[in-house]
Symmetry: C2
C-alpha cells in the first residue's frame, strides 16, 4: 500500500514535468523537460538507497544487485520509456518506468537484496517524436544503435541528435559507458492504449506477441483539370482512384479479421483547390499483424487492389515502404508465470497481441521479454486525457512485483 502510494506520487510528479500548453505533457528526447524527468527519478532512487547510473544515450538505470555471484552481472530489466509524444498522456511510458523503480524499492525494503540482480530502467526514447527514429533507448541497451548514423538526424528545428545529446551531457564523447550491463530479460508494464481490456472487463492483458508493422507511401497520379470544363468521362481523377482503393483495402482488412489492422492516416491532394480535379493524391498505409506471412500476403493483395484500381481508372500508381518491423513473440515461460500470478491474485486476464510498438520488441531480439498491460479508459492514448484508474494500476503493479520477486528471490 505504501509502495502503491509512492507509485502514484511519482506518476503525479512526472506529469508536472514538461506540461504542455495544449494540455498533457511533452517530453521530447534530449529536451530540458526530458532531462529534468530523468534527473528527478535519479534523485528519488538515490535518496532511497538504489545505485543509479546512465549510459551514453541517457538511459537511466537503478540497480538492485544480486547476492549470488552468477546472477549479479546480467540483471533482469524492468521499465519503459520516459519520453512522450507531443501533448501526450500521463501513463504512456511513465507508468512502466515508475512502476519498475518503485517495485525495486519495495522488494529491497521488504526482502532485502535479491539473489539475482534486478535493474529498473528509464529508457530515453521510444516514440521517435523529436527525431525520425523510434526505440533509440532500447536499441542502445541491446547494442543495435549507431551514433554515427543517427547522430546526424535532425529535429524539426534542424538541431542534430548528437548536438542535442551533448547539450544534456550524453553522447559517445561523454564519460558514460556504452551500457553498464546487459539484460538477462525484460519485463514491461504498460497501458494497453486500446479499448480491448475495458470493453471485455479485463484487468490484466498478457502480451503474447507484438505485431509487425509495415508503412507504405502510395502515390496516385492522374491529370489535374478544371472542375467545370472537364466532363466526367474525360477525367483522370487521382482521388477517385485513391478513394476506391481505400474502400476496397478496408473491405479486405475486415475480411482478414483480427489481429490484422490497416489504416490510412494521412492523405494529400494536389493541387488541392475546390474547383480543380485532383491530379495527384498520396496517402499512407499502416499495416500490422502478429504473423509476418499473413501481413505480407495482405500487403500483396492490397497492392494488387491498388494496381487494378489504377489501371481501371487510367491512373498511375507507385508505392514505397518507409517502415518495416517484424512481429516478435513474447517469452512463453514469462507468459505462463504472469498467467499463474493473475490466477493466484484472482485478477481477470486476457492473452492478447500488442498492436502498438514497444521497447519490449527490441529487447526480445537479445533476451526473454514480456509485457503486462493495464486498461486504457476509452482506449485513449497519445492524448492528454489518457487515463487508467489507481485500482487498475495497482493490479498491474502487483503482478509486476510478483514477477520480479519470482525472478530475484527464488
Amino acid at each position: 500500500a505504501a509502495s502503491c502510494h509512492l507509485l502514484h506520487e511519482l506518476l503525479e510528479e512526472l506529469s508536472n514535468i514538461g506540461k504542455a500548453e495544449e494540455g498533457g505533457m511533452t517530453r521530447l528526447l534530449y529536451s530540458s523537460s526530458w532531462l529534468k524527468a530523468q534527473q528527478y527519478l535519479q534523485h528519488v532512487m538515490q535518496g532511497k538507497g538504489l545505485v543509479t547510473s546512465y549510459d551514453q544515450s541517457g538511459n537511466l538505470y537503478a540497480l538492485l544487485e544480486g547476492t549470488d555471484e552468477n546472477g549479479r552481472h546480467k540483471p533482469l530489466f524492468t521499465g519503459s520509456h520516459i519520453d512522450t509524444v507531443i501533448s501526450g498522456g500521463k501513463f504512456d511510458g511513465a507508468l512502466g518506468v515508475a512502476a519498475g523503480m518503485v517495485a525495486l524499492l519495495y522488494l529491497n525494503e521488504v526482502y532485502g537484496p535479491p539473489v539475482r540482480s534486478l535493474a529498473a530502467v528509464s529508457l530515453c526514447e521510444e516514440e521517435g517524436s523529436r527525431f525520425p527514429f523510434a526505440f533509440w533507448g532500447s536499441r542502445s541497451v541491446t547494442g543495435s544503435n549507431d551514433w554515427s548514423a543517427a547522430g546526424n538526424l535532425k529535429d524539426a528545428e534542424g538541431i542534430r541528435m548528437l548536438e542535442a545529446a551533448e547539450i544534456c551531457g550524453f553522447g559517445p564523447n561523454s564519460s558514460y559507458p556504452v551500457r553498464p550491463f546487459e539484460p538477462d530479460g525484460y519485463l514491461e508494464l504498460h497501458i494497453e492504449q486500446g479499448a480491448v481490456l475495458e470493453r471485455t472487463g479485463t484487468s490484466i492483458g498478457i502480451v503474447t506477441d507484438i505485431v509487425g508493422q509495415k508503412r507504405l507511401d502510395v502515390m496516385i497520379t492522374g491529370e489535374a483539370n478544371h472542375a467545370g470544363t472537364t466532363p466526367m468521362h474525360y477525367r483522370k481523377d487521382a482521388l477517385i482512384g485513391a478513394t476506391e482503393m481505400i474502400v476496397r483495402i478496408h473491405e479486405l482488412a475486415l475480411s482478414y479479421g483480427d489481429p490484422l489492422v490497416a489504416t490510412v492516416g494521412t492523405m494529400e491532394l494536389l493541387p488541392g483547390a475546390v474547383n480543380v480535379v485532383p491530379g495527384k493524391v498520396s496517402f499512407t498505409l499502416d499495416i500490422r499483424h502478429t504473423d509476418k506471412g499473413i501481413m505480407d500476403r495482405f500487403i500483396l493483395e492490397a497492392l494488387l487492389i491498388i494496381s487494378a484500381s489504377a489501371a481501371r481508372n487510367r491512373l498511375h500508381a507507385e508505392w514505397q515502404e518507409h517502415l518495416s518491423v517484424d512481429p516478435v513473440a513474447m517469452d512463453e515461460g514469462w507468459i505462463e508465470r504472469i498467467q499463474n500470478a493473475c490466477e493466484a491474485l484472482d485478477f481477470s486476464y486476457r492473452k492478447m497481441p500488442s498492436g502498438a510498438g514497444h521497447d519490449a520488441q527490441i529487447f526480445a531480439e537479445v533476451c526473454k521479454a514480456a509485457m503486462i498491460f493495464v486498461p486504457s479508459q476509452n482506449g485513449l492514448s497519445h492524448h492528454p486525457e489518457e487515463f487508467t484508474s489507481e485500482e487498475e494500476i495497482n493490479q498491474g503493479f502487483r503482478v509486476l512485483v510478483e514477477m520480479l520477486y519470482q525472478y530475484g528471490y527464488r
Copy 2:
C-alpha cells in the same frame, strides 16, 4: 491580317506583364502588374484613336461611338477580364480583352464609326484570386457590386480591397464614374478551358448556357484512435466514411451524364498522422449543371448518400453551402447569328454549355449576352502551359468581328 497581327502582338505584350517566377503570369486585382496591363492597353487604344475611360472599379473602356442618336448611349460591350489566377496562362481573359479592342480598331479603320456604339472592355476582376470574391469587374458594370461590403475583404496579406483599389487610384472616392455607360449587350471571346472542342476537332464553341454551381463543405466526424491498438470493428474511421461517400457520389454523377460534373478537389484529415485512425475528415464538393432543377436533385441525392454512409459507418456528417450560382442561358438570337457566321465562314462549330464561370453570366442578368469559345490544347487552363494556336484564335476573332459588324453597322 494586319489586325490579327496586332492581336497576337497585344497577347504577347500582355504575357510579359506580371510574369511569375513559377511560370506563367500573375496579375492579381489592384496589383502593380494588373495596373500596368490596364495602362498598357489604354495607351495602345488612345494611340490608335479610340476614346478610353475607367470606372471606379478600374474597368477600362474603349468606346467607338455610334453615329445614330438612339444607338449611341448604350453600347454593345465586348471584352473579358485582364486579371489572372496565380501562375495563370496567356489566354484566359486576356484573349477576349485584346480581341475586343483590336476588333474595334479594325472596324473603325475599315468601316469608320458605326451606327450603334461599340465598347471594348477590360474587366478588372473575374477570378477572385486575390480577394475571396469573383466577378467584381462585371458586377460593377451591371450595378450589383457594393463597395461598403466588398471593400473590407482582405487578401492573403491582410490588405483590404478598398485600400488596394485606392493605391491604384480607383475606389468610390476617386473621380471616376460608377460606370460611364450601360451595356446594350455583351459578347465575349474566351478559350474553352476544357478539351471538348479539341477532342471533337471543332473550331468554334457557341455557348448555350453557363452552368450553375454549388460548392459544399462536408465534415465527417468519427473517433481518432491508435492505428495499432484499435481493432477494425472498434473503429469510427472518418476516412472510411468519406471515401465511401466520394466513390458513390462519383457513380451517381456518372449516372446523371453530361453536363453534370461533380468534383472533390480538397480533403483534410485530422489528426493526420500515419499511425492514427482519422477522427475528422472534411472535403469540398463542387457541383455544376445547366439545369438548376437537375443540379438541385443531384445535390439532394448526394446528401442522402452522405447521410446514409455516415449512419452505416457510425459517423456524424455535416455540410454547408459556400457558393451558389444559378445557371444562365445565353441569348438565342446571338447564338443563331454566331451559328450563321460560322456556317458562312465555313468554320466547324459546336453548341455547348460552359462549365466554367464567366463574366458573361453576370452581364446576362441585365442584357443579352453571348460567348464564343476557341479550343484549349489538352484542355489546359489556369496553367502556364495554356495554349491555343494562332489559327484557332484567328477563327474566333473573325467570328467576333462579324458579330460586332452586324450589330454596329447594319
